[in-house]
Subunit: 339 residues, 4 copies
């Protein structure tokens, strides 16, 4: 951590701060020039918040140079994390995986129709929402436990693993009973209480990037889970908020590359939520494979016009089939075949 003192700061202010830091066990390396007083704080600065240092009189700027995350970093663990699901599917490292299913679980019939089609394409992980975080209290909120039960039943028929989004920590026992991967939604990325509780679970956690989160904040949220003892975190890039309104969000594929540099955790791309437009799912999926994503998560629906949520960003089954052919071919030419 680097501290720059104000032009108008006094020697007493400098001494006061330096002594306080030494008392907390840090050592100091001064890099002042003639015109500016600057020093580095050496030690475990992950335990130090920028604002703690800024509180001192005379401080102009405090800059973090070491990443505040530890267990999520490549420094902590060099090799790619691979997560193995109960049905034998691996996430991370060698093969990108495809996760697919409806936005919301609506009925047994709907789910069976979709899962059956996915199975034919070789899909091994089924997604579906049972507790939906809708922006309006007046719209469909999901089937709740019944939705989780349906997901489990249908997935078991096809030896698929199940992923679904948890809305709140008190529902953890329910999710541990029914699902194989617990998803944390973008709006809960900094619900630290939820992250702590999930850190005590043994289930893999898929952590979606927050709507306007930086990569560092995202990895700090992963750190919350890891620091509680759960090493199985999957990151999911799903677009960030920008000024552009033509698309629902702006898919940030550079983030996949950045995560690969900074962290050992697998990272998945969700082009459905990123664009909010089914016409873009195919091309963006190809792009995600091109930058080396560890998988894709897409919304597929047998009848999107009558879907109870997010129909605009769901692929019809025949379009999904066409897309899968193209993705399989592309992934082979990229030498990381999709599974």
């Amino acid at each position: 951590m680097i501290v720059k003192m104000k032009r108008t700061s006094t020697q007493a202010e400098y001494d006061n701060l330096v002594n306080a830091l030494k008392n907390r066990g840090f050592s100091i390396k001064d890099v002042s020039s003639e015109t500016v007083r600057i020093f580095g704080i050496i030690g475990d600065t992950a335990t130090l918040e920028l604002t703690d240092v800024k509180a001192f009189d005379g401080v102009e700027q405090v800059i973090r140079v070491q990443t505040p995350f530890k267990q999520a970093s490549r420094t902590f663990k060099e090799s790619d994390t691979v997560i193995t699901l109960p049905n034998g599917v691996h996430i991370g490292k060698d093969h990108p995986v495809m996760i697919a299913g409806p936005c919301s679980v609506e009925s047994s019939a709907q789910l069976k129709a979709i899962a059956g089609s996915l199975f034919k394409q070789g899909i091994r992980i089924l997604r579906g929402g049972a507790f939906k975080p809708r922006t309006s209290p007046y719209t469909f909120q999901g089937l709740g436990e019944e939705g989780l039960l349906l997901l489990r039943e249908v997935a078991d028929q096809y030896a698929m693993a199940v992923i679904s989004e948890i809305p709140s920590s008190e529902l953890l026992p329910l999710f541990e009973k029914y699902v194989d991967i617990i998803q944390v939604g973008a709006r809960n990325m900094q619900n630290f209480q939820l992250l702590k509780v999930l850190g005590q679970s043994k289930k893999p956690i898929m952590l979606k990037r927050g709507l306007s989160a930086t990569i560092e904040e995202w990895l700090m949220s992963a750190e919350y889970i890891l620091s509680q003892g759960n090493p199985n975190v999957i990151l999911c890039e799903r677009g960030i908020r920008t000024f552009e309104t033509y698309t629902r969000n702006t898919l940030d594929l550079s983030a996949v590359l950045a995560i690969k540099e900074l962290s050992h955790l697998p990272v998945i791309v969700d082009p459905s939520h990123a664009s909010g437009r089914w016409t873009m799912i195919g091309p963006l999926s190809k792009a995600a494979l091109s930058v080396g994503a560890d998988g894709l998560m897409v919304e597929v629906h047998n009848d999107p016009e009558n879907a109870l949520s997010d129909g605009a960003q769901s692929l019809k089954i025949h379009r999904f089939d066409t897309m899968m052919e193209e993705l399989k071919s592309l992934s082979e030419s990229l030498r990381r075949p999709l599974i």
Copy 2:
């Protein structure tokens, strides 16, 4: 809600969508011109999500013209909402209120020192964090229930009301026992599960604006609480994320004016979190009163350099005293005296 069809859309696509909408009880008014097919959907469109309509083939754009919030709107309730606390303080309408206290409750001694000073300035509402949403799991997380207990004890000595942030819905019984206003933090603004639970409480809720939330999204989160039966929602503008890094966030004072036009709910301004710099708290507080905010919430600390969190944005007590003199004088010249 206005629907614009694609240039390439067919009559069959148009009929398909219009019929589906009619089946859901809406009526249709066509405004097509020669070059573009456009129509309005008439009815309770708050129950309709934009994406539901976008899912239909042939749709280019769907635009909401009626606000998706109902009970939060001025149309629903013309007169300003006034919330009365157990100690007799009113929030809303006539007088702006001052809420003050430390970022985190650290000890009995700290809290007594601060509250005693606030009391001399006539402050009637004490703030303090007991469960802190920190971005790093390695930093101080708050005293928990002990912090709430300390807040209650110290506040009672001075007939003050207490406000503190709730991190998770399962802690509601604890908060109902100790505090008078339950705060929802910016990072939880779209934690819909928490909002629903708080909607069933009888305590006033202070809902902070999310880090990059629009005013409409903020009011939709208020709607979640209102729609469950709790009418006592206070909004709190605390700065939004922008590209500027000199300040922690960018205080959006136009939002106060917008809320006054769109809603009957009281709106408070938090200049401490907005700027992250104690030097800006005084001037931004004046600006907030100038645009008609219903109150201010500021961080005050007896020893910010040794604060366990957010010292950089806390005022020392003697500076708070000076600021209060200036604010009282300004608020009188604005004819809305601060209480």
Copy 3:
């Protein structure tokens, strides 16, 4: 254009606005419901600014439903625009093109070394900055006319076309003399005076997307050029500003898809400026080809560590060679071979 009147608006205010619009030649279609007064304005609304209508008393909201751009739209011209350069290279439609070269022209030796290597890879368009828009007045500002001259000379040796950025309209004669494509930089995207002047040139114009421009604003800037009579506009996505700081900007590949839906103009991707990191250029180039970009523009340097500008985002020549092999192979499997 749709107008929504305020809840509190009067019949007189409504009549006043409607009459003013009729006087300007528009017709009106009313879509009011019981609770809200709304109407559509029919006619050439591209000549009407939103703020013109908002100025009227009683207006709450004005929404544009027809795109404000005309000649840039697919409605105006269905088929893809193809631009042919003097050396016979086509931009648009069938084959993506590769544009490469140094950020700045520094010397004849530098340029020859780079161009020679590019030629071996089959590159037919050479880029290089002669007038550099630097954020600091204290850094290298480019060689000026000498830079343009060097570009022309070296390009002619290899039958390459030349592209370079114009800083200001009075330099147009110079650019018309030396270059084949005139580039408008991101910071000048809304320099309307420059756009008008370029609209009177016969040279193709490459218009970079502004740092935080929406797609609509970008196409409106293209419209400025088109409306003056120059039909040869190439768009260039080069990343937009977001909260992420790990990358210089955030490459928005959905924008390529959006442009293809909305417009007939070719769109190129610049992964060098988008990411600011040479390690990301290869993967992002693949992603850009995957979504159907009409070309790529990348920075290549023979000695980036001693480059006079933007070395961080330049590929060394041997890395460029490796990347080209991969891109050629990928573009063939995508069935749009790179030229």
Copy 4:
């Protein structure tokens, strides 16, 4: 400037970079710890771009700790800059000034009607656009030179100074002839060619903040003007782009406080463009005075409903009169009376 090397960097990479910097005249102070290699670059780092250093192999991060602007900084000049106009009005330091007038000059009659009313309120600086930067080429583009002439004639009648926006550097002779302050619009804030030319003028320049510019970028643009020899720069905060759409932009009043800390230049606030809503101009003007702005610039129109541009954000004259009474009273209670 602080450089952090990659975890995987080698001693040779470190030596290579350090030697290159020493060859450019910088000295190096190493602050490495056991786990990370970090050093400071000492010298005139304003001549060094971050990307120049990032180009070296092995570099992870480069952080600027000294401001890249020099002449614009308080370090360069401690005391507030005061600019005196030909009519004797001072901008900066003691008294905030009011600048008012129509968005566009439309006719002699319009300008006379407005200026006469402003004169009665004591306004000494008249604003008006003659060359309008409109986002659409199909809307009113301003009267051009005739507009400047009208401004000058009408202003002279009332001994007012004139401010108007310059669209392009070749028009400088015209602006030097007619106006007293030359305005650079937000969209031209980084039109460096224009800034350089204005730096050679003797006229005061009002530099508007770019639509999504940081404070540092804004001051760097001021630096362009100052570095060419023109010391008379006035900054103008006019709102920045955020996700909020209820207001046209988001007024950033913390920026006024930041400028006062970082720079000696005067800073003016434009609440008309910031909000795009005339109802907010009064309250935001009060807020701007409360934070210590050196002045206000507002749009006033005798007939906004028939204005040729930006009527939505113009105050009618009678509303302007009411606002002025309130602002005069407020500014007196703030002890910085408005002139």
